[in-house]
Assembly symmetry: C2
């Protein structure tokens, strides 16, 4: 087939292998050690940027891998000198789960820029632009790329016009680009086209738009195609050997999809093969952490619930001896979302809404609100697009003993940097750097243990596939498997043969 069109526009690609891909597929467990050998190829492949840092990778580094996340960042910087390094930042939450005072936000941005970060994708789980304002201003001050994020969700209130308004609000903050972020693979081709087109039409074609989609529902490579047709400048994909399922569309499929069209990625095919081969070898080491979802799941279009959230709720229900009530919870989630004013479902709002839905099913609607859900209803996470149910707000107020607020939540937080410094530096193993203080600030429960363990060096939790097989075998042989009965062996001891029968005592 001769190509029918000469490409007229280059589409940039953000490679997700080093952050969101292994976060989505293998519980963020990949060790830096398993990434370094791919970095030269990634650096030379021609990506627009390399996503490699975020809340979950930071958390996993100190919680499971005994890796200093800052050291990981510096390593990436050194190994990929020609690449834009990109991170995902939860606005005023930074990489943690609460709002921080502005000075902490500023320091985090300064330190990460110093250590090598280039592109900051800043989002707020409620799409409350006030919660990303400080982080975006901080990124601009250190002269790095500030990307404002629109979390894509669907509700009776969410419209193309609403997303355009949010795009306008973000651009007024001085963003260098926008991201349309589809964390649950709900963005279908037509809305993808409509939203990107409307933003370009309204704000001008020179407004850079990046599109991030997961692949869970199987439709989003088509959505990327339509977004590109509508003018999207950069799209996010993951190398094929770390793609699909609850992860992302394969980078190589994107490249091939565009052949013959007016668009091209200009990525280096040979480099992509090397990157693919590298992660194809690494992936089996993390089988134990792999997501159970491998094919596609389209029922989430109805519940709007991301895959990871469903498995969380299942485990909560099982702990309460109510493993059979998942269907009720799935029906309850959209109702809770409506009561809460239709927040997008993304960390942390997905966990807050999901847990409240479990509570409602187990104990009756809003008989008990979780502390986090009460805070959400009272405005302590920010504002939502829809009005919150006044009765439930009143109940939250009574239960939490707090007033509803409508200011930016961080405005209520007193200066806290000095306090964080003194608390952190008092910890055994803390090296007194701002980086360590930030680790403590964002993960106060995990940091103390990490500081103590750190000198022992990184711990790779991946396993050689042969080792995994041997583990499986020993697990089965110890009676955990279907074989209940005795096993007969021929045992030779000091040269003499014995017939030995073994069974579980």
């Amino acid at each position: 087939m001769t190509e029918t069109t000469t490409p007229t526009r280059e589409v940039g690609v953000t490679e997700l292998a080093l952050r969101d891909a292994h976060q989505s597929l293998m519980a963020t467990r990949m060790a830096l050690e398993d990434m370094v050998d791919a970095c030269a190829d990634i650096d030379a492949a021609g990506y627009w940027s390399v996503e490699c840092w975020g809340g979950a990778t930071y958390d996993a580094c100190i919680r499971f891998l005994n890796e200093d996340p800052w050291e990981r960042l510096r390593t990436f910087r050194e190994l990929m000198p020609n690449s834009r390094l990109q991170m995902l930042l939860r606005g005023q939450n930074l990489l943690g789960y609460r709002h921080y005072e502005d000075d902490v936000v500023n320091r985090f941005v300064e330190k990460s820029a110093e250590n090598g970060m280039d592109v900051y994708r800043v989002f707020d789980a409620l799409n409350d632009v006030r919660n990303v304002k400080q982080a975006i201003a901080a990124v601009r001050r250190v002269d790095k790329h500030a990307q404002g994020t629109i979390c894509y969700t669907e509700s009776p209130l969410h419209t193309v016009e609403g997303y355009v308004q949010m795009a306008r609000d973000l651009m007024e903050l001085g963003c260098d680009s926008l991201c349309l972020k589809d964390m649950a693979a709900l963005l279908k081709p037509q809305p993808a086209y409509d939203i990107v087109k409307a933003i370009k039409d309204d704000l001008g074609s020179d407004v850079r738009i990046h599109v991030h989609c997961h692949s869970t529902t199987g439709v989003t490579l088509v959505s990327l195609m339509k977004a590109i047709e509508a003018g999207a400048d950069v799209v996010d994909t993951a190398i094929s050997s770390l793609s699909l399922g609850p992860g992302h569309n394969p980078t190589e499929s994107l490249v091939e999809m565009l052949r013959g069209t007016p668009y091209t990625t200009n990525l280096d095919d040979d480099r992509l093969v090397s990157i693919k081969d590298h992660f194809a070898k690494v992936r089996p080491k993390y089988t134990q952490f792999m997501s159970a979802i491998t094919g596609v799941e389209t029922e989430i279009f109805k519940s709007q619930i991301p895959g990871g959230m469903i498995s969380n709720m299942e485990s909560q229900l099982r702990q309460q001896g109510a493993g059979d009530r998942l269907r009720e919870v799935l029906l309850e989630v959209p109702r809770v979302r409506q009561v809460a004013g239709y927040p997008p479902l993304v960390t942390p709002s997905s966990q807050i809404v999901g847990t409240q839905a479990v509570f409602n099913v187990l104990m009756g609607p809003y008989k008990v609100q979780t502390a986090e859900f009460a805070d959400l209803m009272l405005g302590y996470y920010g504002s939502t697009l829809g009005e919150r149910d006044p009765d439930i707000v009143a109940a939250a107020q009574a239960q939490a003993g707090k007033e509803p607020i409508d200011v930016r939540p961080a405005d209520l937080i007193p200066p806290e940097w000095d306090k964080l410094v003194s608390e952190a530096t008092a910890l055994e193993g803390c090296d007194g750097t701002d980086e360590d203080v930030l680790t403590y600030a964002m993960f106060p429960g995990v940091a103390p243990g990490f500081f103590v363990e750190r000198p022992q060096g990184p711990k790779n939790v991946g396993k050689d596939p042969a080792e995994v097989a041997a583990d499986e075998l020993s697990k089965s042989s110890s009676g955990g498997g279907p074989v209940k009965g005795p096993i007969r062996y021929s045992v030779s001891m000091d040269g003499k043969a014995h017939s030995v029968t073994v069974e579980r005592a």
Copy 2:
């Protein structure tokens, strides 16, 4: 998100679960028994047609499952009274591997129509229209739906104009519709659009076009989207629990992909969920037959070699102690294809070209030609788009002791029905029906054994997942796994050290 457009055109869907899906994913091993409970839902879901019969399913029925393929067809007919049943027919090869005389072709079409077939997708591996002419005429005579097929391939000679010419040739035979068949997932979005568009523009928008794609490369759902935009009437998909990898795009993803666009499938969502749930339960029974490919594979764009063919060649090479020479063979395949005049690679041309490439690497280029490759070079499979290399044709002639031909191969076959009848009816267990004669005609090596075994009834080769796990365990424990045994231990018992060797008795 409110839908932005009112659908203006219904796109038909052919469900592949009962034929190509399990053929591509689990070596065609699914028993009828594991399909029947899904038939009511499939019948009511609103599909344009249900593909359920073809060469590999027929072969697997008599070779592995001790099922009469005609009984399977009658069962489908009974269980899906409202559906168009569809089959894949290899033109003059019927469901076998050689060319048959026209009378045999006629009888096969008559008998399958009598037993319930509605839609015949007729293809020739070389895209030689002369090889599908008789089958299409036969289908028209019994008043069933005749679909002419264009096998999609790429070469310096294949152009949009060439495909349009082939479409014209097929429509002149009186086809009710056309199929653009992409057996190797090579059809990218832009060519999909260009070919469908050009055919519609040239032959008229009322010419029905069906598009069949595999999903191996990860790009073809986008290709279906573009084909639909260009006017495709029906597309082929498989229910999600039997989709992806070397199989097909998920039916539910297609449905969701079209929401908000000017197109709709009008399929019944609840029925799709039931069908999905059914096959999600069945699939694990066939784990032992599952394809090793699970993600996407885009390197085949270079070699143009379908996934199934690569595993065939690997096993041929291993048998010759040359398992390390696959890369050479992959480079040789495109050269062999060029020498042979650029045939599409699909049964049987894929096997013929692949095996010759293996021979060339092991023994030197064309030192030995397989009998089938010599026949291909001499025109005994039909004509190809490109000229065949005259030197290799001469070598084929010398080796095979046959003249090259340029007539339709079947024209050289004398009447053979009476001979087939007398041979078949002489076999133990043959019931003397035309159906049995056709089974013998197409599978003369397998039919005799099948006729003898048939009274014992169908054999389900699927296994309960628990059974599979137990098998695995016993295999591992008996030393089939990574532990080859015997294992030597130093055992200290009551304070005294012993040398102990253990192996399974």
